[in-house]
Symmetry: C3
Subunit: 185 residues, 3 copies
Protein backbone atom coordinates (compact mmCIF):
# COMPACT_ATOMS: atom_id res chain seq x y z
CA UNK A 1 0.00 0.00 0.00
CA UNK A 2 1.50 3.31 -1.07
CA UNK A 3 1.23 6.68 0.62
CA UNK A 4 -1.27 7.78 -2.03
CA UNK A 5 -3.76 5.01 -1.30
CA UNK A 6 -3.31 5.74 2.37
CA UNK A 7 -4.34 9.36 1.84
CA UNK A 8 -7.45 8.21 -0.03
CA UNK A 9 -8.33 5.72 2.72
CA UNK A 10 -7.71 8.39 5.32
CA UNK A 11 -9.96 10.80 3.53
CA UNK A 12 -12.77 8.26 3.36
CA UNK A 13 -12.48 7.57 7.07
CA UNK A 14 -12.47 11.29 7.76
CA UNK A 15 -15.74 11.72 5.88
CA UNK A 16 -17.22 8.70 7.61
CA UNK A 17 -16.34 9.89 11.09
CA UNK A 18 -17.90 13.25 10.32
CA UNK A 19 -21.13 11.72 9.12
CA UNK A 20 -21.11 9.62 12.26
CA UNK A 21 -20.62 12.71 14.41
CA UNK A 22 -23.40 14.31 12.44
CA UNK A 23 -25.77 11.55 13.52
CA UNK A 24 -24.47 12.31 16.98
CA UNK A 25 -26.14 15.67 16.60
CA UNK A 26 -29.34 13.69 16.30
CA UNK A 27 -30.45 15.25 13.03
CA UNK A 28 -32.44 12.17 12.28
CA UNK A 29 -35.61 12.79 10.40
CA UNK A 30 -36.68 9.20 10.04
CA UNK A 31 -38.41 7.88 13.17
CA UNK A 32 -36.37 5.37 15.19
CA UNK A 33 -39.68 3.93 16.42
CA UNK A 34 -43.20 4.35 15.12
CA UNK A 35 -46.61 3.03 16.12
CA UNK A 36 -50.27 3.83 15.57
CA UNK A 37 -52.66 3.63 18.50
CA UNK A 38 -56.24 4.70 19.19
CA UNK A 39 -57.86 5.98 22.34
CA UNK A 40 -61.49 6.38 23.26
CA UNK A 41 -63.06 9.06 25.44
CA UNK A 42 -66.56 8.87 26.93
CA UNK A 43 -67.31 12.02 28.87
CA UNK A 44 -69.48 11.99 32.00
CA UNK A 45 -72.78 13.80 31.41
CA UNK A 46 -74.57 13.12 34.70
CA UNK A 47 -76.20 9.92 33.44
CA UNK A 48 -73.45 7.61 32.21
CA UNK A 49 -71.41 7.05 35.37
CA UNK A 50 -70.75 3.38 34.58
CA UNK A 51 -69.36 3.93 31.07
CA UNK A 52 -67.76 7.35 31.36
CA UNK A 53 -63.97 7.41 31.06
CA UNK A 54 -63.62 11.14 31.68
CA UNK A 55 -65.24 13.93 33.67
CA UNK A 56 -65.41 17.72 33.60
CA UNK A 57 -63.60 18.93 36.73
CA UNK A 58 -63.14 22.60 35.96
CA UNK A 59 -65.43 25.11 34.27
CA UNK A 60 -65.62 28.87 33.84
CA UNK A 61 -68.22 30.89 35.72
CA UNK A 62 -70.80 30.32 32.94
CA UNK A 63 -70.36 26.53 32.94
CA UNK A 64 -71.04 23.47 35.07
CA UNK A 65 -69.70 19.94 35.60
CA UNK A 66 -72.11 17.87 33.49
CA UNK A 67 -72.42 19.86 30.23
CA UNK A 68 -69.50 21.26 28.24
CA UNK A 69 -69.67 25.07 28.51
CA UNK A 70 -70.84 27.66 26.00
CA UNK A 71 -68.27 29.61 23.97
CA UNK A 72 -66.76 26.48 22.44
CA UNK A 73 -66.30 24.91 25.88
CA UNK A 74 -63.68 27.56 26.72
CA UNK A 75 -62.30 26.90 30.18
CA UNK A 76 -63.51 23.33 30.59
CA UNK A 77 -60.94 21.08 32.22
CA UNK A 78 -61.50 17.37 31.64
CA UNK A 79 -59.67 14.54 33.46
CA UNK A 80 -59.58 11.22 31.61
CA UNK A 81 -58.60 7.58 31.91
CA UNK A 82 -59.23 6.26 28.40
CA UNK A 83 -58.60 2.79 26.97
CA UNK A 84 -55.92 2.54 24.26
CA UNK A 85 -56.47 0.02 21.47
CA UNK A 86 -54.50 -1.17 18.45
CA UNK A 87 -57.43 -0.62 16.10
CA UNK A 88 -60.46 1.68 16.00
CA UNK A 89 -62.76 -0.72 17.87
CA UNK A 90 -63.79 0.50 21.33
CA UNK A 91 -64.28 -3.13 22.37
CA UNK A 92 -60.81 -4.38 21.33
CA UNK A 93 -58.55 -5.57 24.13
CA UNK A 94 -56.84 -2.44 25.53
CA UNK A 95 -53.03 -2.28 25.36
CA UNK A 96 -52.92 0.48 27.92
CA UNK A 97 -54.56 3.62 29.28
CA UNK A 98 -54.34 7.26 28.22
CA UNK A 99 -54.40 9.28 31.45
CA UNK A 100 -54.27 13.00 32.06
CA UNK A 101 -56.26 16.04 31.09
CA UNK A 102 -57.45 18.20 28.26
CA UNK A 103 -58.49 21.82 28.48
CA UNK A 104 -60.69 23.65 25.97
CA UNK A 105 -58.97 26.95 25.42
CA UNK A 106 -60.49 29.10 22.69
CA UNK A 107 -63.69 31.14 22.85
CA UNK A 108 -64.45 31.27 19.12
CA UNK A 109 -63.44 27.83 17.81
CA UNK A 110 -62.61 24.38 19.15
CA UNK A 111 -59.07 23.95 20.41
CA UNK A 112 -57.74 22.02 23.36
CA UNK A 113 -54.52 21.91 25.34
CA UNK A 114 -53.36 18.38 26.12
CA UNK A 115 -51.20 17.02 28.91
CA UNK A 116 -51.38 13.26 29.30
CA UNK A 117 -49.55 9.95 29.47
CA UNK A 118 -49.87 6.68 27.58
CA UNK A 119 -49.38 3.88 30.11
CA UNK A 120 -48.67 0.91 27.82
CA UNK A 121 -48.79 -2.70 28.99
CA UNK A 122 -48.76 -5.20 26.18
CA UNK A 123 -46.56 -7.96 24.85
CA UNK A 124 -45.06 -5.42 22.44
CA UNK A 125 -44.24 -2.56 24.81
CA UNK A 126 -44.05 -1.85 28.50
CA UNK A 127 -43.58 1.76 29.50
CA UNK A 128 -45.00 5.24 29.37
CA UNK A 129 -44.98 8.11 26.89
CA UNK A 130 -45.76 11.69 27.93
CA UNK A 131 -47.60 14.03 25.56
CA UNK A 132 -48.03 17.79 25.55
CA UNK A 133 -49.31 20.28 23.05
CA UNK A 134 -51.99 22.35 21.41
CA UNK A 135 -54.77 20.53 19.57
CA UNK A 136 -56.82 22.53 17.05
CA UNK A 137 -59.46 19.81 17.07
CA UNK A 138 -61.19 20.80 13.82
CA UNK A 139 -58.01 20.45 11.74
CA UNK A 140 -57.77 17.06 10.04
CA UNK A 141 -54.32 16.11 11.32
CA UNK A 142 -52.32 18.03 13.90
CA UNK A 143 -48.99 17.48 15.62
CA UNK A 144 -48.46 17.37 19.35
CA UNK A 145 -45.19 16.41 21.04
CA UNK A 146 -43.90 13.39 22.91
CA UNK A 147 -41.71 15.02 25.53
CA UNK A 148 -40.44 11.99 27.46
CA UNK A 149 -40.86 8.33 28.28
CA UNK A 150 -40.05 5.54 30.71
CA UNK A 151 -39.49 1.77 30.47
CA UNK A 152 -39.18 0.73 26.82
CA UNK A 153 -39.39 4.43 26.00
CA UNK A 154 -36.64 5.57 28.40
CA UNK A 155 -35.58 9.13 27.43
CA UNK A 156 -37.44 8.96 24.09
CA UNK A 157 -38.81 12.07 22.39
CA UNK A 158 -40.84 12.66 19.25
CA UNK A 159 -44.00 13.82 17.56
CA UNK A 160 -47.54 12.44 17.61
CA UNK A 161 -49.81 13.20 14.70
CA UNK A 162 -53.39 13.00 15.94
CA UNK A 163 -56.62 12.67 13.98
CA UNK A 164 -60.21 12.67 15.20
CA UNK A 165 -61.28 9.24 14.02
CA UNK A 166 -64.84 9.42 15.34
CA UNK A 167 -66.97 11.97 17.15
CA UNK A 168 -70.49 11.47 18.53
CA UNK A 169 -72.31 14.47 20.00
CA UNK A 170 -70.41 15.77 22.96
CA UNK A 171 -70.13 12.34 24.58
CA UNK A 172 -67.74 10.13 22.62
CA UNK A 173 -64.64 10.72 20.57
CA UNK A 174 -61.85 8.53 19.30
CA UNK A 175 -58.38 9.76 18.43
CA UNK A 176 -55.93 8.05 16.09
CA UNK A 177 -52.41 8.71 17.32
CA UNK A 178 -49.49 8.18 14.96
CA UNK A 179 -46.45 8.23 17.27
CA UNK A 180 -43.09 8.91 15.63
CA UNK A 181 -40.10 8.85 17.96
CA UNK A 182 -36.96 10.60 16.68
CA UNK A 183 -34.78 10.32 19.76
CA UNK A 184 -34.66 6.75 21.01
CA UNK A 185 -31.66 5.93 23.26
Amino acid sequence: MGARSLVVLLFLMFILSFSSAYQGKKKQYKPCKQMVLYFHDVIYNGQNAANATSAIVGAPQWGNLTILADKFHFGNVVVFDDPITLDNNFHSKPVGRAQGMYIYDTKNTFTAWLGFTFVLKSTDFQGTLNFMGADPTLVKTRDITVVSGTGDFFMHRGIATIMTDAFEDDVYFRLRVDIKLYECW
Copy 2:
Protein backbone atom coordinates in the same frame (compact mmCIF):
# COMPACT_ATOMS: atom_id res chain seq x y z
CA MET B 1 4.09 13.01 0.79
CA GLY B 2 6.14 11.20 3.40
CA ALA B 3 4.96 9.07 6.30
CA ARG B 4 5.76 11.92 8.70
CA SER B 5 3.41 14.43 7.04
CA LEU B 6 0.83 11.69 6.92
CA VAL B 7 1.04 11.25 10.67
CA VAL B 8 0.57 15.00 11.15
CA LEU B 9 -2.42 15.09 8.79
CA LEU B 10 -3.85 12.06 10.51
CA PHE B 11 -3.48 13.70 13.90
CA LEU B 12 -5.28 16.83 12.75
CA MET B 13 -8.15 14.80 11.38
CA PHE B 14 -8.29 12.86 14.62
CA ILE B 15 -8.65 16.08 16.64
CA LEU B 16 -11.22 17.41 14.22
CA SER B 17 -13.41 14.34 14.36
CA PHE B 18 -13.33 14.47 18.15
CA SER B 19 -14.38 18.09 18.28
CA SER B 20 -17.16 17.23 15.86
CA ALA B 21 -18.29 14.37 18.08
CA TYR B 22 -18.15 16.73 21.01
CA GLN B 23 -20.68 18.99 19.33
CA GLY B 24 -22.65 15.81 18.93
CA LYS B 25 -22.96 15.84 22.71
CA LYS B 26 -24.84 19.09 22.21
CA LYS B 27 -22.86 21.13 24.74
CA GLN B 28 -23.87 24.27 22.93
CA TYR B 29 -24.38 27.28 25.12
CA LYS B 30 -25.13 29.76 22.38
CA PRO B 31 -28.76 29.64 21.21
CA CYS B 32 -29.26 28.11 17.77
CA LYS B 33 -32.46 30.20 17.47
CA GLN B 34 -33.64 33.19 19.48
CA MET B 35 -36.68 35.46 19.40
CA VAL B 36 -38.49 37.90 21.65
CA LEU B 37 -42.29 37.81 21.79
CA TYR B 38 -44.97 39.34 24.00
CA PHE B 39 -48.30 37.98 25.13
CA HIS B 40 -51.25 39.69 26.72
CA ASP B 41 -53.67 38.28 29.29
CA VAL B 42 -57.04 39.81 30.17
CA ILE B 43 -58.70 37.80 32.90
CA TYR B 44 -62.49 37.38 33.07
CA ASN B 45 -63.95 39.18 36.10
CA GLY B 46 -67.66 38.68 35.51
CA GLN B 47 -68.05 41.92 33.51
CA ASN B 48 -65.57 41.79 30.63
CA ALA B 49 -66.78 38.74 28.69
CA ALA B 50 -66.09 40.34 25.30
CA ASN B 51 -62.47 41.30 25.97
CA ALA B 52 -61.35 38.59 28.37
CA THR B 53 -58.72 36.20 27.00
CA SER B 54 -58.61 33.99 30.11
CA ALA B 55 -60.90 32.68 32.82
CA ILE B 56 -60.59 31.22 36.30
CA VAL B 57 -61.73 27.60 36.06
CA GLY B 58 -60.51 26.19 39.35
CA ALA B 59 -60.39 27.68 42.83
CA PRO B 60 -59.84 26.46 46.36
CA GLN B 61 -62.73 26.23 48.80
CA TRP B 62 -62.29 29.87 49.85
CA GLY B 63 -62.36 31.20 46.27
CA ASN B 64 -64.73 31.68 43.36
CA LEU B 65 -64.63 31.97 39.56
CA THR B 66 -64.72 35.74 39.06
CA ILE B 67 -62.22 37.07 41.64
CA LEU B 68 -58.70 35.71 42.18
CA ALA B 69 -58.66 34.06 45.62
CA ASP B 70 -57.20 35.24 48.92
CA LYS B 71 -53.83 33.93 50.09
CA PHE B 72 -51.99 35.17 46.99
CA HIS B 73 -54.52 33.44 44.69
CA PHE B 74 -53.27 30.03 45.89
CA GLY B 75 -55.11 27.30 44.06
CA ASN B 76 -56.53 29.39 41.23
CA VAL B 77 -56.39 27.62 37.88
CA VAL B 78 -56.66 29.94 34.87
CA VAL B 79 -57.17 28.82 31.25
CA PHE B 80 -56.01 31.29 28.61
CA ASP B 81 -55.97 32.00 24.90
CA ASP B 82 -53.79 35.11 24.68
CA PRO B 83 -52.63 37.03 21.59
CA ILE B 84 -48.88 36.99 20.91
CA THR B 85 -47.32 40.12 19.41
CA LEU B 86 -43.87 41.13 18.22
CA ASP B 87 -43.86 44.28 20.35
CA ASN B 88 -45.48 45.39 23.59
CA ASN B 89 -48.60 46.85 21.94
CA PHE B 90 -51.78 44.92 22.73
CA HIS B 91 -53.24 46.18 19.42
CA SER B 92 -50.38 45.00 17.19
CA LYS B 93 -51.22 42.30 14.67
CA PRO B 94 -50.92 38.96 16.52
CA VAL B 95 -48.37 36.44 15.21
CA GLY B 96 -50.01 33.62 17.14
CA ARG B 97 -51.78 32.58 20.32
CA ALA B 98 -50.47 31.51 23.72
CA GLN B 99 -52.80 28.74 24.90
CA GLY B 100 -52.84 26.68 28.07
CA MET B 101 -53.06 27.31 31.78
CA TYR B 102 -51.41 28.90 34.76
CA ILE B 103 -51.88 27.93 38.38
CA TYR B 104 -51.18 30.15 41.37
CA ASP B 105 -49.35 27.90 43.78
CA THR B 106 -47.99 29.66 46.89
CA LYS B 107 -49.95 30.86 49.92
CA ASN B 108 -47.53 33.58 51.08
CA THR B 109 -46.22 35.15 47.87
CA PHE B 110 -47.06 35.25 44.17
CA THR B 111 -45.84 32.30 42.16
CA ALA B 112 -47.45 30.43 39.30
CA TRP B 113 -46.95 27.13 37.54
CA LEU B 114 -47.15 27.38 33.77
CA GLY B 115 -48.09 24.81 31.15
CA PHE B 116 -48.86 26.30 27.75
CA THR B 117 -48.15 26.39 24.04
CA PHE B 118 -47.21 29.14 21.61
CA VAL B 119 -49.11 28.48 18.38
CA LEU B 120 -47.19 30.64 15.90
CA LYS B 121 -48.50 31.58 12.46
CA SER B 122 -46.54 34.32 10.78
CA THR B 123 -44.39 34.83 7.73
CA ASP B 124 -41.37 34.17 9.93
CA PHE B 125 -42.38 30.98 11.68
CA GLN B 126 -45.05 28.30 11.49
CA GLY B 127 -45.17 25.85 14.35
CA THR B 128 -45.65 25.40 18.05
CA LEU B 129 -43.45 25.65 21.14
CA ASN B 130 -44.40 24.04 24.45
CA PHE B 131 -43.51 25.70 27.75
CA MET B 132 -43.42 24.39 31.30
CA GLY B 133 -42.06 25.69 34.55
CA ALA B 134 -42.29 27.61 37.79
CA ASP B 135 -42.82 31.36 37.60
CA PRO B 136 -41.98 33.43 40.71
CA THR B 137 -43.93 36.34 39.27
CA LEU B 138 -42.41 39.05 41.49
CA VAL B 139 -38.85 38.31 40.39
CA LYS B 140 -37.72 40.63 37.59
CA THR B 141 -36.60 37.94 35.13
CA ARG B 142 -37.14 34.24 35.56
CA ASP B 143 -36.42 31.18 33.43
CA ILE B 144 -38.95 28.60 32.36
CA THR B 145 -38.29 25.81 29.89
CA VAL B 146 -39.19 25.09 26.29
CA VAL B 147 -39.68 21.33 26.37
CA SER B 148 -40.63 20.61 22.77
CA GLY B 149 -41.90 21.95 19.47
CA THR B 150 -43.52 21.13 16.14
CA GLY B 151 -43.34 22.51 12.59
CA ASP B 152 -40.44 24.95 12.28
CA PHE B 153 -39.57 24.00 15.86
CA PHE B 154 -39.58 20.23 15.34
CA MET B 155 -37.83 18.58 18.32
CA HIS B 156 -36.44 21.91 19.57
CA ARG B 157 -35.70 22.54 23.25
CA GLY B 158 -34.49 25.54 25.20
CA ILE B 159 -35.10 28.21 27.81
CA ALA B 160 -37.51 31.14 27.91
CA THR B 161 -36.64 34.12 30.07
CA ILE B 162 -39.87 35.86 31.02
CA MET B 163 -40.44 39.35 32.39
CA THR B 164 -43.64 41.03 33.54
CA ASP B 165 -43.74 43.92 31.09
CA ALA B 166 -46.99 45.44 32.38
CA PHE B 167 -49.47 44.70 35.12
CA GLU B 168 -52.82 46.40 35.77
CA ASP B 169 -54.79 45.46 38.88
CA ASP B 170 -55.76 41.85 38.69
CA VAL B 171 -57.18 42.15 35.17
CA TYR B 172 -54.36 42.66 32.63
CA PHE B 173 -50.76 41.59 32.40
CA ARG B 174 -48.24 41.41 29.60
CA LEU B 175 -45.25 39.08 29.54
CA ARG B 176 -42.07 39.59 27.54
CA VAL B 177 -40.73 36.19 26.52
CA ASP B 178 -37.11 35.88 25.39
CA ILE B 179 -36.96 32.43 23.79
CA LYS B 180 -33.51 30.86 23.44
CA LEU B 181 -33.43 27.47 21.76
CA TYR B 182 -30.30 25.39 22.39
CA GLU B 183 -31.30 22.17 20.67
CA CYS B 184 -32.52 22.85 17.15
CA TRP B 185 -32.46 19.84 14.77
Copy 3:
Protein backbone atom coordinates in the same frame (compact mmCIF):
# COMPACT_ATOMS: atom_id res chain seq x y z
CA MET C 1 7.20 4.39 10.73
CA GLY C 2 6.13 2.16 7.88
CA ALA C 3 2.90 2.22 5.92
CA ARG C 4 1.72 -0.89 7.78
CA SER C 5 1.97 0.68 11.24
CA LEU C 6 0.24 3.73 9.83
CA VAL C 7 -2.70 1.61 8.71
CA VAL C 8 -2.95 0.12 12.19
CA LEU C 9 -2.80 3.55 13.83
CA LEU C 10 -5.36 4.83 11.37
CA PHE C 11 -7.68 1.96 12.14
CA LEU C 12 -7.46 2.59 15.87
CA MET C 13 -8.30 6.24 15.40
CA PHE C 14 -11.19 5.29 13.17
CA ILE C 15 -12.65 3.07 15.89
CA LEU C 16 -12.04 5.75 18.50
CA SER C 17 -13.77 8.49 16.57
CA PHE C 18 -16.76 6.21 16.06
CA SER C 19 -17.04 5.45 19.74
CA SER C 20 -16.79 9.15 20.40
CA ALA C 21 -19.58 9.83 17.93
CA TYR C 22 -21.54 7.09 19.62
CA GLN C 23 -21.36 8.98 22.91
CA GLY C 24 -22.55 11.92 20.86
CA LYS C 25 -25.75 9.96 20.38
CA LYS C 26 -26.12 10.22 24.15
CA LYS C 27 -26.65 6.51 24.79
CA GLN C 28 -25.56 6.97 28.34
CA TYR C 29 -27.23 4.71 30.80
CA LYS C 30 -25.36 5.82 33.88
CA PRO C 31 -26.76 9.01 35.39
CA CYS C 32 -24.58 12.09 34.94
CA LYS C 33 -26.17 13.51 38.11
CA GLN C 34 -28.17 11.81 40.84
CA MET C 35 -29.83 12.95 44.06
CA VAL C 36 -32.46 11.76 46.50
CA LEU C 37 -34.98 14.25 47.86
CA TYR C 38 -38.23 14.08 49.82
CA PHE C 39 -41.31 16.21 49.64
CA HIS C 40 -44.24 16.52 52.01
CA ASP C 41 -47.88 17.18 51.14
CA VAL C 42 -50.54 18.27 53.65
CA ILE C 43 -53.88 18.58 51.92
CA TYR C 44 -56.43 21.21 52.96
CA ASN C 45 -59.51 19.60 54.53
CA GLY C 46 -61.45 22.66 55.64
CA GLN C 47 -59.84 22.75 59.11
CA ASN C 48 -56.07 22.89 58.62
CA ALA C 49 -55.64 26.17 56.76
CA ALA C 50 -52.44 27.07 58.62
CA ASN C 51 -50.59 23.82 57.94
CA ALA C 52 -51.99 22.78 54.57
CA THR C 53 -49.51 22.84 51.69
CA SER C 54 -52.04 21.84 49.03
CA ALA C 55 -55.71 22.30 48.17
CA ILE C 56 -58.33 20.60 46.03
CA VAL C 57 -59.21 23.06 43.26
CA GLY C 58 -61.11 20.85 40.85
CA ALA C 59 -63.56 18.02 41.43
CA PRO C 60 -66.05 16.04 39.39
CA GLN C 61 -69.77 16.61 39.80
CA TRP C 62 -69.94 14.10 42.69
CA GLY C 63 -67.12 15.76 44.64
CA ASN C 64 -66.31 18.92 46.58
CA LEU C 65 -63.32 21.03 47.59
CA THR C 66 -62.62 19.78 51.13
CA ILE C 67 -62.89 15.99 50.82
CA LEU C 68 -61.22 13.86 48.14
CA ALA C 69 -64.00 12.45 45.92
CA ASP C 70 -65.50 8.98 45.76
CA LYS C 71 -64.38 6.56 43.03
CA PHE C 72 -60.72 6.69 44.07
CA HIS C 73 -60.72 10.50 43.95
CA PHE C 74 -61.19 10.37 40.15
CA GLY C 75 -61.22 13.88 38.79
CA ASN C 76 -59.73 15.68 41.80
CA VAL C 77 -57.23 18.35 40.84
CA VAL C 78 -54.86 19.37 43.65
CA VAL C 79 -52.51 22.37 43.58
CA PHE C 80 -49.51 22.14 45.90
CA ASP C 81 -46.56 24.06 47.28
CA ASP C 82 -44.72 21.40 49.28
CA PRO C 83 -41.42 21.67 51.20
CA ILE C 84 -38.53 19.58 49.84
CA THR C 85 -36.11 18.11 52.36
CA LEU C 86 -32.89 16.08 52.20
CA ASP C 87 -34.22 13.44 54.59
CA ASN C 88 -37.63 12.09 55.55
CA ASN C 89 -38.20 14.58 58.38
CA PHE C 90 -41.00 17.06 57.74
CA HIS C 91 -39.25 19.50 60.10
CA SER C 92 -35.85 19.43 58.40
CA LYS C 93 -34.70 22.67 56.78
CA PRO C 94 -36.26 22.78 53.29
CA VAL C 95 -33.89 22.91 50.32
CA GLY C 96 -36.67 24.06 48.02
CA ARG C 97 -40.34 23.77 47.11
CA ALA C 98 -42.23 21.28 44.96
CA GLN C 99 -44.87 23.31 43.12
CA GLY C 100 -47.53 22.31 40.64
CA MET C 101 -50.47 19.94 40.53
CA TYR C 102 -51.57 16.34 40.72
CA ILE C 103 -54.75 14.90 39.28
CA TYR C 104 -56.39 11.66 40.39
CA ASP C 105 -57.31 9.93 37.18
CA THR C 106 -58.67 6.40 37.60
CA LYS C 107 -62.12 5.37 38.82
CA ASN C 108 -61.22 1.87 40.07
CA THR C 109 -57.79 2.27 41.65
CA PHE C 110 -55.45 5.04 42.82
CA THR C 111 -53.42 6.68 40.08
CA ALA C 112 -52.41 10.29 39.62
CA TRP C 113 -51.07 12.43 36.82
CA LEU C 114 -48.26 14.74 37.90
CA GLY C 115 -47.08 18.05 36.48
CA PHE C 116 -44.82 19.98 38.82
CA THR C 117 -41.50 21.72 39.38
CA PHE C 118 -38.77 21.38 41.99
CA VAL C 119 -37.55 24.89 42.80
CA LEU C 120 -34.23 24.18 44.52
CA LYS C 121 -32.32 26.74 46.56
CA SER C 122 -29.54 25.28 48.63
CA THR C 123 -25.78 25.48 48.89
CA ASP C 124 -25.62 22.38 46.67
CA PHE C 125 -27.93 23.36 43.83
CA GLN C 126 -29.72 26.40 42.49
CA GLY C 127 -32.21 25.81 39.76
CA THR C 128 -35.42 24.08 38.76
CA LEU C 129 -36.37 20.64 37.50
CA ASN C 130 -39.68 19.95 35.73
CA PHE C 131 -41.49 16.65 36.21
CA MET C 132 -44.30 15.01 34.27
CA GLY C 133 -45.82 11.55 34.25
CA ALA C 134 -48.26 8.94 35.40
CA ASP C 135 -48.09 7.80 39.02
CA PRO C 136 -49.75 4.48 39.91
CA THR C 137 -49.61 5.43 43.59
CA LEU C 138 -50.09 1.90 44.99
CA VAL C 139 -47.06 0.50 43.18
CA LYS C 140 -43.96 0.45 45.40
CA THR C 141 -41.64 2.33 43.04
CA ARG C 142 -42.66 4.02 39.82
CA ASP C 143 -40.86 6.11 37.24
CA ILE C 144 -41.88 9.55 36.11
CA THR C 145 -39.84 11.79 33.85
CA VAL C 146 -37.70 14.90 34.29
CA VAL C 147 -38.43 16.77 31.09
CA SER C 148 -36.34 19.90 31.55
CA GLY C 149 -34.47 22.18 33.93
CA THR C 150 -33.00 25.62 34.49
CA GLY C 151 -30.02 27.07 36.39
CA ASP C 152 -27.72 24.26 37.54
CA PHE C 153 -30.02 21.93 35.62
CA PHE C 154 -29.98 23.85 32.34
CA MET C 155 -31.32 21.57 29.56
CA HIS C 156 -31.11 18.46 31.77
CA ARG C 157 -33.41 15.47 31.30
CA GLY C 158 -33.86 12.20 33.12
CA ILE C 159 -35.99 9.90 35.21
CA ALA C 160 -37.31 10.20 38.76
CA THR C 161 -38.13 7.03 40.65
CA ILE C 162 -40.74 7.89 43.27
CA MET C 163 -41.80 5.95 46.36
CA THR C 164 -44.54 6.71 48.87
CA ASP C 165 -42.46 7.01 52.01
CA ALA C 166 -45.36 7.78 54.35
CA PHE C 167 -49.11 8.12 54.08
CA GLU C 168 -51.53 9.24 56.81
CA ASP C 169 -55.25 9.09 56.10
CA ASP C 170 -56.08 11.40 53.24
CA VAL C 171 -54.23 14.34 54.78
CA TYR C 172 -50.46 13.74 54.68
CA PHE C 173 -48.12 11.94 52.35
CA ARG C 174 -44.39 12.01 51.80
CA LEU C 175 -42.69 11.04 48.55
CA ARG C 176 -39.09 9.90 48.19
CA VAL C 177 -37.78 11.05 44.82
CA ASP C 178 -34.66 9.43 43.37
CA ILE C 179 -33.67 11.77 40.54
CA LYS C 180 -31.37 10.34 37.89
CA LEU C 181 -30.35 12.74 35.15
CA TYR C 182 -29.06 11.15 31.94
CA GLU C 183 -28.68 14.24 29.78
CA CYS C 184 -26.68 16.90 31.60
CA TRP C 185 -25.11 19.57 29.35
